[in-house]
Amino acid sequence: MSRPADGAPVLEFRGVHTHYGPVHILKDVDISIREGQIVCLLGGNASGKTTTLKTVLGMVVPTAGDVLVGGESVNGWRTADIVKLGVSMVPENRRLFKRMTVKENLEIGAYLRSGDMSADYDRVLEMFPRLKERLGQRAGTLSGGEQQMAAVGRALMADPKVLLMDEPSMGLAPVLVAQNFELIQQINEAGTTVFVVEQNANMALSIADYGYVLQTGRVVLADTAANLLANPEMRRAYLGESG
């Protein structure tokens, strides 16, 4: 199931440190994501996963090291400019603009783009025909599954090179979790690089090419997904074996 990982790196962390006030969060993190891959970042609560995503997006500025998007260092850039480079995120719990309509949500996904976006619009609606019926509805009134579609659709409207997924399985019904991961594969097959941040190691590794394990801000394991699945330490700590 793994695809060749020969593309150029689209997203890289090189020795990144971050701090919240004086507190050291990420400690010398190296991550490299190549074009066309699905890469997952695994870790428990407070391991620094969310900070990693915020660092990509410039919401947290590294105190040392570099974050590179498409080979370009984005340290100190404004979030908007990083988004413009083709980074887009589906946040945990979807976080739609509940008071806006589904259509407005999709449109705001393409906020930074100019020109004709109808092709992307059609592509999203083709991918999620359910949304077509709901376009005029307020996003807050959608069901859980539909909200998920709208959130992914909104992120795709930005035509991202790399899509960040924050905990796509968190607090979701099994049916939605399965759907979600299928969706990730589908998006990836259509040519988008995906970076998944997950607690559910089993699920994430089953679709990923490569995985990183984060523990209290440090990358403690980094290997191909297949190797991680086979790693005994990994199996004991994260995959719930012999619990």
Binding site: N45, T141, L172, L176
Partner: protein, 261 residues
């Protein structure tokens, strides 16, 4: 007589039906799981039962008496306590204080006793603290010792979940409502908490209702499972029964449970 009996419960928010006529009963000493897809109304169900929201229609009987329309604090006093999906402790109170404050509705000293520091008040204070320590010791070594005086916000995620359960226990409820108690926990912690939920019933004598997505936990703890979808109960019964129900598989599980989770 059922401990909790819910009849035709309805609740809508601005045109969205969160609960569209739910019936459910919970007998004393049972552990009942409530499962269902996101947005099915599970948390709304808890919120209405505990009085944070008023029901639109229907009735909630607790030990035979209607509690619909009571203030949340009165319902807690009547004997229903809960935890929250997204862990809502009092973050800056210490671990011990979090548990002490929850005994509020079981204690009586008022302003004058507090100002005059009467013997009654001092005895009650000592008892509150004693009981808080006792409850925290239920979780083994996790929340005792130096942790008593740590602010709740400094706890690890799993300990926060445990503390929330301890706080609910401190209100001396008969019925405990746990909202996704293992969400965000790793496999080992999940296993431990599963055992704890059973102990809550077996050793402490609480009746328990659990909302949970982790089907492993649901299988291990439940006497009975109720499935909600779009605010309606679509199935109810033993785990095996529910997990093979076609409607449940379609709305919630996606594929038969056990076929690799």
């Amino acid at each position: 007589m059922a401990m909790l009996e819910i009849r035709g419960l309805r609740k809508s928010f601005g045109g969205v039906q969160a609960l569209a006529g739910v019936d459910l009963h919970v007998d004393e000493g049972e552990i009942v799981s409530v499962i269902g897809p996101n947005g099915a109304g599970k948390t709304s169900f808890f919120n209405v039962v505990t009085g944070l929201f008023l029901p639109d229609r229907g009735d909630i009987l607790f030990e035979g008496k209607s509690i619909a329309g009571l203030e949340a604090s009165e319902i807690t006093k009547a004997g229903i306590a809960r935890t929250f999906q997204n862990v809502r402790l009092f973050p800056d109170m210490t671990v011990l204080e979090n548990v002490m404050v929850a005994q509020h509705c079981r204690t009586r000293s008022g302003i004058f006793r507090a100002i005059l520091r009467t013997p009654f008040m001092r005895r009650e204070e000592a008892e509150i603290e004693e009981r808080a320590r006792e409850i925290l010791s239920f979780f083994g070594s996790r929340l005792v010792g130096y942790r008593f005086d740590q602010p709740a916000m400094s706890l690890s995620y799993a300990n926060r979940r445990r503390l929330e359960i301890a706080r609910a226990m401190a209100t001396r409820p008969k019925l405990l409502l746990l909202d996704e108690p293992v969400a965000g926990m790793n496999p080992r912690e999940t296993a431990e908490l599963t055992g704890l939920i059973r102990k809550l019933r077996d050793e402490q004598g609480f009746t328990v209702v659990v909302i949970e997505h982790d089907m492993g936990v649901v299988r291990d703890v439940s006497d009975r499972v109720a499935v909600l979808d779009h605010g309606v109960k679509i199935a109810e019964g033993a785990y095996e029964e529910v997990s093979t129900n076609a409607e449940v598989i379609e709305a919630y599980l996606g594929r038969p449970a056990g076929a690799g989770r």
